[in-house]
């Protein structure tokens, strides 16, 4: 009987073969593992990149939209704050029109126009109303309108009409159809179109400010206590200035001192205040002092440079450069800055300001 051939029947790998196989497998596994880690890092990097990019784009989109629909845009001296004053386009709950007729809440407001034909300003003020049946007599301060429905709230409100002098306000209310004006009528007539301005946004042209002083005067502004807290915008007025108190119908105290002396200054009172502020690693957007999270960011945004060129020109370029911080596995990944560039269209010139 022949002894079986052990060498032929054993098909196992030799030690060398196994070592080679293990070595190759190890290399392959290491490559696969490395590729997996790289892909995962790429995923995280892409995710972080797009997340940051989306935030940048969103903020710039909001900023461009707010700048474009503002009637006034100012920047702070440190170039880290942009203040936009927006017209009150949509009637909000609690506003006089809404109190008078709740059906107007959420609807668009029809503006009034002030100034002469070559310097007309569009006013989306909140309580302006117009009647067409006013009667006045030259030299008299009495005005009668059957449809005006005057109330004591109308006292001190500016009033305009073709037969009224510039800067006329309502001094007192006799009854619902009769008021006493601050100035005499310039001519006699009836069926006069008359506009009674409310406590909303308005513009005056005779504001007087003194450098480093918080006192501001205007013979035509007809300030009332309702103006406290409202924004004021003018060439000699600092950004984010509001009315702190009303001394009388022609004088107010501002929250910030004027940064220049100016007489016959155009000044706008009221409107919605939107403020963008760069603070540390975050950019915030507030609307009338309330933080609006939808356009704010506190994630991975580090302002590298800010370059606002929001001067009072028809076109303005706003450039914001961010340096996103990308992280992966708790490791900070560096990258160069991303410049987000926006060209916004200011309407200050078009409004005639």
């Amino acid at each position: 009987m022949k002894k079986p051939n052990c060498h032929k029947s054993v098909a196992a790998f030799t030690l060398v073969e196994i070592m080679v196989a293990v070595g190759i497998s190890s290399v392959l596994l290491a490559a696969i593992l490395s590729a997996s880690i790289s892909l995962q890092k790429s995923l995280n990097a892409v995710d972080n990149y797009f997340s940051t990019h989306m935030q940048q784009v969103r903020i710039i989109d909001y900023l461009a939209r707010d700048v474009k629909r503002s009637f006034s845009v100012t920047t702070s001296p440190d170039l880290k704050t942009v203040t936009c004053i927006l017209p009150n386009y949509i009637i909000q709950s609690g506003e006089p029109e809404a109190i008078a007729n709740s059906a107007t809440i959420g609807t668009r407001r029809t503006p009034s126009l002030n100034g002469d034909v070559n310097n007309q300003l569009v006013d989306y003020g909140t309580t302006t109303r117009t009647v067409i049946d006013a009667q006045v007599t030259i030299g008299s301060t009495t005005l009668i309108s059957a449809t005006a429905s005057f109330t004591t709230n109308d006292v001190t409100k500016p009033i305009t009409g073709t037969r009224l002098q510039t800067g006329t306000t309502i001094s007192s209310v006799t009854n619902s159809t009769t008021v006493v004006l601050s100035k005499t009528a310039s001519s006699t007539g009836s069926s006069m179109v008359t506009t009674i301005y409310g406590e909303g946004m308005r513009t005056v042209y005779d504001a007087v400010a003194t450098n480093a002083s918080t006192t501001l005067t205007s013979a035509t502004a007809a300030f009332t206590s309702a103006d406290v807290g409202r924004s004021v915008v003018g060439t000699a007025i600092q950004s984010l200035t509001t009315i702190s108190s009303v001394t009388n119908g022609t004088t107010v105290v501002l929250s910030k001192a004027a940064n220049a002396t100016s007489s016959a200054m155009s000044m706008t009172i009221g409107g919605t205040i939107v403020v963008y502020t760069v603070t540390g690693n975050s950019i915030t957007r507030t609307e009338n002092g309330t933080l609006t999270m939808i356009a704010s960011s506190t994630d991975q945004l580090l302002p590298q440079t800010t370059d606002w060129q929001a001067s009072n020109t028809e076109y303005t370029n706003s450039t914001v450069t961010f340096l996103p911080i990308l992280t992966s596995n708790s490791q900070t990944m560096s990258r160069t800055g991303t410049t987000v560039y926006s060209t916004a269209y200011l309407r200050n010139k078009r409004r005639g300001n």
């Binding site: 997996s36 892909l39 797009f50 474009k68 029809t110 007309q120 109303r129 067409i132 100035k183 356009a295």
Partner: protein, 516 residues
């Protein structure tokens, strides 16, 4: 046996390779999916969001162009052939009822037969706009443009971020208000004025209207106001030589009656010192007192004897006066310069019913009113000179288009209208408007106002040299190439003319976006 073992070894290797490829593919697919999602959000949605605004502003520009055309050629503006309909279908836009009902309005892009539902444009008609125009004030006329632009969102419908407002999404869809399946604005606000709590009706336009493609819509509102060619007492493009030391330039407002002097008592004092003088070069020689602002372009005007603000760094150009474009059937030449205005129902100079008269020269003219003192309008084209005498009856509004020269004495210039009435045109000077058609260089044009007597007229002659000789007074306004006051003349600017003279153009005075 050996073969089986070898087969098993080969199968394991294949399995390992497939598993490896599968794992890598899953990771890669995950990366790609994240990239694609972010790409759709950051590129396509943002692109559509921006393009929607471009579409809205494009529609507003179209409307703005039509408003400007309506000013110069009412018959050709807002053409129905382009889809415009008038009046705009109620309640789009909401009619303005105060201070007086104004029904003048136009619309394009809304569902008015036979116009399409929107005005498409762009690549593959991916953009469209709907526009309404309505008049919100009269005298001066002010228009409101409401334009909505829509951009189709390319790609699959459910490719966007959601409306979650957290640390990750920040509510991108809230900002861009993407309509994936139905028009959110129409469902909430209808035509624009419906309340979110209101029941949907055909009247308010609220409806759950599905959209064929995902889309983004943005809406803007523009207020368009007129630009008056009259901005002050005298506007001269090349030079100003003021009147003698006893002369004066001041102002008044005819809606308050006749001129009351340079320093009247209240309430007329408010309108007395707005007699602004502007010259487009440095050639400024003041002469007498100017009650108003003065601007020059490089001149040396000082505040001496000038009551207002002086600015020596203001440049401007004057638009030449083109030949008129009569839009009404030509009226037979009356035969002489003395004629009675054809009785029509024309409401102003540009009314299609307003008659046009043509003369080779106009001398010893008398224009009578067929309706007593009621307001009537006519246009007179004079290809030559206007001279000798001119009498215009009360109530007659006449607009001269003069190709030649004007020379007359004040005593022969008889404007029988009065200041203060009627309310549609309370200006005596506004009833006679002289437009000097700009001559072609080297030809010149002259307007000589001679003594004795006074003139009540409005002059827009950007190519003319105006000379006031002796001591006549002119009540009105003047836009010219040069102005010289050769004597102690008085120039009294009627501020009401800025509202009366036809606007030279329109400008956008307000822009606001409806972000609801």
């Amino acid at each position: 046996m050996n073969l089986k073992r070898r087969n098993k070894l080969k199968g394991s290797a294949l399995l390992c390779a497939m598993c490896t490829i599968t794992v890598l593919s899953i990771i890669a697919a995950n990366v790609l999916m994240n990239c694609t999602t972010r790409y759709n959000a950051s590129s396509k949605q943002i692109k559509a969001w921006k393009e929607a605004l471009y579409a809205a502003e494009g529609g507003a520009d179209v409307a703005y162009r039509e408003i400007r055309r309506y000013n110069t050629s009412p018959g050709t503006a807002f053409p129905a052939a382009n889809g415009w309909s008038s009046p705009a279908p109620s309640p789009v836009p909401t009619p303005v009822s105060s201070p007086s009902p104004i029904s003048t309005s136009w619309a394009i892009g809304y569902n008015v037969s036979p116009s399409p539902t929107a005005q498409p444009f762009g690549v593959n008609n991916s953009l469209s706009y709907k526009v309404t125009v309505d008049q919100i004030a009269q005298l001066p006329d002010v228009y409101r443009i409401r334009s909505g632009g829509t951009a189709l969102l390319q790609g699959f419908k459910r490719v966007g971020m959601d409306d979650r407002l957290d640390g990750i999404t920040k509510g991108d869809s809230l900002l861009r208000k993407i309509d994936f399946n139905y028009d959110h604005f129409k469902a909430a606000y209808g035509y624009g004025e419906a309340l979110s709590t209101a029941t949907a009706t055909s009247g308010n336009g609220k409806a759950q209207q599905s959209v064929n493609n995902a889309q983004i819509t943005r809406r803007v509102e523009l207020i368009v106001v007129p630009i008056s060619p009259i901005t002050g007492a005298i506007k001269a493009s090349t030079s100003f030589s003021g009147p003698g030391s006893a002369g004066v330039v001041d102002s008044y407002d005819s809606k308050n009656g006749a001129y009351k002097g340079s320093n009247p008592a209240a309430p007329y004092d408010a309108d007395a010192h707005d007699g602004g003088v502007s010259v487009g070069t440095s050639s400024f020689s003041q002469g007498g007192q100017i009650y108003g602002d003065v601007t020059t372009n490089g001149g040396t005007a000082s505040t001496s004897n000038i009551s207002g603000v002086v600015d020596n760094n203001v440049a401007f150009t004057l638009a030449p006066q083109p030949s008129p474009s009569p839009h009404a059937a030509t009226t037979p030449i009356p035969g002489s310069s003395s004629f009675t205005v054809l009785a029509t129902a024309a409401a102003d100079f540009d009314d299609t019913a307003c008659p046009w008269y043509f003369f080779s020269s106009f001398s010893n003219g008398v224009i009578s009113n067929p309706s007593g003192t009621a307001e009537v309008y006519c246009n007179v084209v004079v290809t030559g000179n206007i001279s000798s005498k001119l009498t215009v009856a009360q109530g007659v509004n006449v607009r001269f288009f003069m190709y030649g020269n004007f020379s007359m004495k004040g005593k022969d210039f008889d404007n029988q209208n009065v200041d203060g009435s009627p309310s549609s045109n309370p200006s005596r000077a506004g009833h006679i408007q002289l437009f000097g058609v700009s001559p072609t260089s080297p030809a010149t044009q002259s307007i000589d106002l001679n003594p004795p007597g006074n003139f009540y007229m409005t002059i827009y002659a950007p190519g003319a040299d105006i000379s006031m000789n002796g001591n006549p007074d002119l009540y009105g306004a003047a836009v010219c190439k040069s102005w010289a006051g050769n004597g102690n003349t008085g120039f009294h600017f009627d501020k009401e003319l800025s509202n009366i003279v036809k606007p030279s153009d329109y400008r956008v005075a307000s822009y606001v976006e409806d972000v609801r």
